[in-house]
């Protein structure tokens, strides 16, 4: 008997100690429903689901967890990135994934900024990525892997700059799952979904919280209209 069969068999036998045969059988349709028709549970209240209210909540939560944020017009995203470089004394250089959205938004920077495209090799100080959604509940970014967005770029740089479209800010994580199920219907679920809440940190040395444990030391979010 394979280990698989042994384990599954033992589970069923043990459960029979507490459940009748009918109850054991009734589990099949029940689990089908739970798997195919997931239901949201207890959702923390949000002040309102209007986009402007969600933006405000997102900003408030993200700042509480040491992210930095700017809000700007679409046309000024490039300027905001430049401002970020100047503010942090960084050379005008960054890496991005092969993402058309990012390419359009940073187009005006091509003249005086070195822009590398592709998967980071660990030598990049700044990576710029476009996220799919922002979750107002906790100021969290939802990033999805793909040819446009190498997951490595979210973790290797010292500074992670994330572009977030205003109308992609949702209230709860459950909203993200609903949208992803629609977007990837009939296809495989994305290889990696990162829910990122602030810069990397550790409390392993005498409980003192320090930023930049292995992932980025800074997380800068540019929300554009």
């Amino acid at each position: 008997m394979s280990s698989r069969d042994a384990i599954l068999g033992r589970i069923k036998n043990q459960l029979s100690l507490k459940m009748s045969d009918d109850e054991i059988q009734a589990r099949v349709p029940h689990t089908r429903t739970r798997l195919k028709k997931p239901k949201a549970g207890v959702l923390p209240k949000v002040p309102s689901t209007s986009n402007s209210s969600l933006i405000n909540q997102f900003k408030k939560e993200a700042i509480e967890i040491q992210s930095t944020i700017t809000v700007c017009e679409r046309a000024n995203v490039g300027d905001e990135i430049e401002t970020y470089f100047k503010k942090n004394d960084l050379p005008s250089k960054f890496r991005m994934g092969d993402d058309k959205r990012v390419a359009t938004l940073v187009a005006k920077l091509k003249k005086n900024t070195e822009i590398l495209v592709g998967v980071s090799d660990g030598q990049d100080t700044v990576c710029v990525t476009h996220c799919e959604y922002g979750v107002a509940e906790t100021g969290t970014l939802a990033l999805v892997s793909g040819e446009h967005n190498p997951t490595s770029n979210n973790f290797l740089p010292t500074h992670h700059v994330v572009l977030l479209r205003q109308r992609d800010i949702v209230a709860h994580y459950e909203d993200v799952w609903k949208k992803l199920r629609v977007k990837y219907k009939g296809q495989k679920f994305p290889r990696t979904v990162n829910l990122v809440s602030g810069p990397s940190r550790s409390g392993d040395i005498e409980q003192k919280i320090i930023l930049g444990a292995h992932g980025p030391t800074s997380l800068h979010i540019i929300i554009y209209k």
Binding site: S2, S3, A6, I7, L8, R10, I11, Q14, L15, K18, M19, R27, V28, T31, R34, P38, A40, G41, V42, P44, K45, E61, I65, G118, V119, G122, T138, S145, G146, E147, N149, T151, S152, N154, F155, E174, W177, K188, F189, R191, T192, V193, N194, L195, S197, G198, P199, S200, R201, S202, G203, D204, I205, E206, Q207, I210, G212, A213, H214, G215
Partner: protein
């Protein structure tokens, strides 16, 4: 990890005298409990969330076989492999096989208690595969040849000075006179050294906080991002998880995430919550080409349907040990087992047997704080009591204890004798108090009165006064 729980009494005596340990435990004590309390006070629906989390895990346990099958199906659909392991030895075998087929020389590891449970690191090293822990606390503990003392904060028992000494001793290629006076400098050094390891690793091994049946997804929760660098950079990603880590769907997982971080560290969300599903897609820019999930039983299926069934709801937040007065005074290593504190006291006997772990369920005053803060409402004191009953039935408790309990039972079944005995005891205690209202020493209770004063009983016993009033 080799279990040494039978030495618990000796270990605790040592721990209480260990000045460095007492300092570091005092330093951490209260920190995480205050943070949790703050987070809970800011979450009006926290009780409802606990009930929801409890319901989800109960649902999982009642349908565990069905959800496991669905999970396996979806992992395979997404290009991954599932390996089933009944024992630690089988699990190690699967992992070494994968390493050999890949010709792996170096393995990086995200934090995984299951990997410690199966003693993976030693086994891999013996098979000629270099194994590097990447969680900062685990890395420090690995350098020192120790085991983690807390499931969330593995190095909580260490002072900064001890960490500094460990780095100076082990990072030999660096200048001996470099400045390591601040926690920041220690962190930066570890970051640089481990970054090198992340980039050249052949296989990344992580645990899983959750396994989502709906999508065939493994979920890891970290603050450092080490788990992510472990699993996305190498060619092969191996997940090792115990079978009860399953959750039905993404919404259920979100409920559990909401109580997990708040209970563990008082954060609303840990920094990185990552969902990994299968192997690299055709149009992925990066990611592992191979994805393996090892599902480990190792005693869990045997707990289902028994009086210890509810222990399987545990989501490994560590809140119980943060709030336990025993753990907070002796630290994790005193328990001599991988899982410590209240959850360890219930889980360890189930995994290694009550004969070996009999001291652990006794290391409790049943104050009940653990159950109060458990995000999935596990009745920990009740299960510790169940273990004590089993211990008694198997005649594992000390002879003196059994004898005294027998004597007490003899008297308690004969009310007249019992009352006489309490009158004599009451008289004796008044003698020892020397009219001070309390005693600093009582025979047969020396250990207790060493640190406490026993109040003296009033003149007459309750029954004496009651009978007098009745006449």
């Amino acid at each position: 990890m080799q279990n040494t729980s039978l030495q618990f009494k000796h270990n605790t005596a040592k721990a209480l005298k260990n000045e460095t340990l007492q300092k570091t435990m005092a330093n951490s004590r209260g920190g995480l409990t205050l943070k949790r309390a703050k987070a809970v006070s800011k979450t009006p629906k926290f009780e409802a969330l606990r009930d929801s989390a409890r319901e989800i895990k109960e649902n999982v346990l009642e349908n565990l076989d069905l959800y496991l099958e669905e999970f396996e199906h979806n992992v395979i659909e997404n290009g991954g492999h599932v390996h089933w392991a009944q024992t630690a030895s089988e699990a190690r075998g699967h992992i070494v096989d994968i390493c050999r087929k890949t010709n792996a020389k170096t393995v990086t590891k995200g934090k995984s208690m299951i990997s410690e449970e199966i003693e993976l690191n030693d086994f891999l090293e013996q098979s000629g595969i270099k194994t590097i822990e990447t969680d900062l606390g685990e890395y420090i503990v690995q350098l020192r040849g120790e085991t983690p003392s807390h499931i969330i904060a593995p190095a909580v028992h260490l002072s900064m000075d001890q960490v500094r000494q460990t780095f100076l001793k082990n990072h030999k290629k660096l200048k001996a006179d470099r400045d390591l006076q601040t926690p920041e400098s220690l962190l930066l050094e570890a970051r640089a050294i481990l970054r090198e390891q992340f980039l050249k690793s052949d296989i990344g091994i992580t645990g899983a906080n959750f396994l989502v049946a709906e999508t065939g997804t493994s979920v890891i929760v970290t603050n450092e991002g080490n788990g992510d660098l472990t699993q996305v950079l190498p060619r092969v990603h191996v997940v090792i998880a115990s079978i009860e880590k399953i959750v039905p769907n993404l919404e259920d997982m979100s409920q559990l995430l909401r109580v997990l971080a708040r209970s563990a560290t008082g954060q609303k969300m840990s920094v990185y919550n990552t969902l990994s599903t299968g192997s690299k897609r055709a149009d992925d820019a990066d990611g592992p080409e191979e994805y393996h999930v090892i599902l480990l039983d190792n005693g869990r299926s045997n707990m289902l349907g028994t009086e210890f069934h509810e222990m399987l709801r545990c989501i490994r937040c560590g809140a119980c040990m943060n709030h336990c007065p025993v753990y907070q005074n002796v630290g994790g290593h005193a328990y001599g087992s991988l899982y410590t504190g209240p959850m360890g006291s219930v889980l360890t006997p189930a995994l290694v047997g009550i004969d070996t772990a009999k001291h652990l369920p006794n290391a409790s005053t049943f104050c009940g704080r653990c159950e109060e803060v458990c995000p999935v409402k596990i009745p920990l004191p009740k299960m510790m009591r169940n273990w004590r009953e089993r211990e008694f039935e198997k005649h594992l408790s000390p002879k003196a204890q059994r004898r005294n309990l027998k004597l007490w039972a003899y008297l308690a079944k004969r009310p007249f004798l019992y009352r006489r005995a309490t009158q004599i005891a009451s008289f004796g205690m008044r003698m020892f108090s020397l009219n001070k209202g309390h005693s600093r020493y009582l025979p047969f209770a020396g250990q207790w009165t060493k640190h406490r004063q026993m109040p003296t009983p009033v003149q007459k016993t309750f029954m004496q006064q009651y009978n007098k009033k009745r006449r």
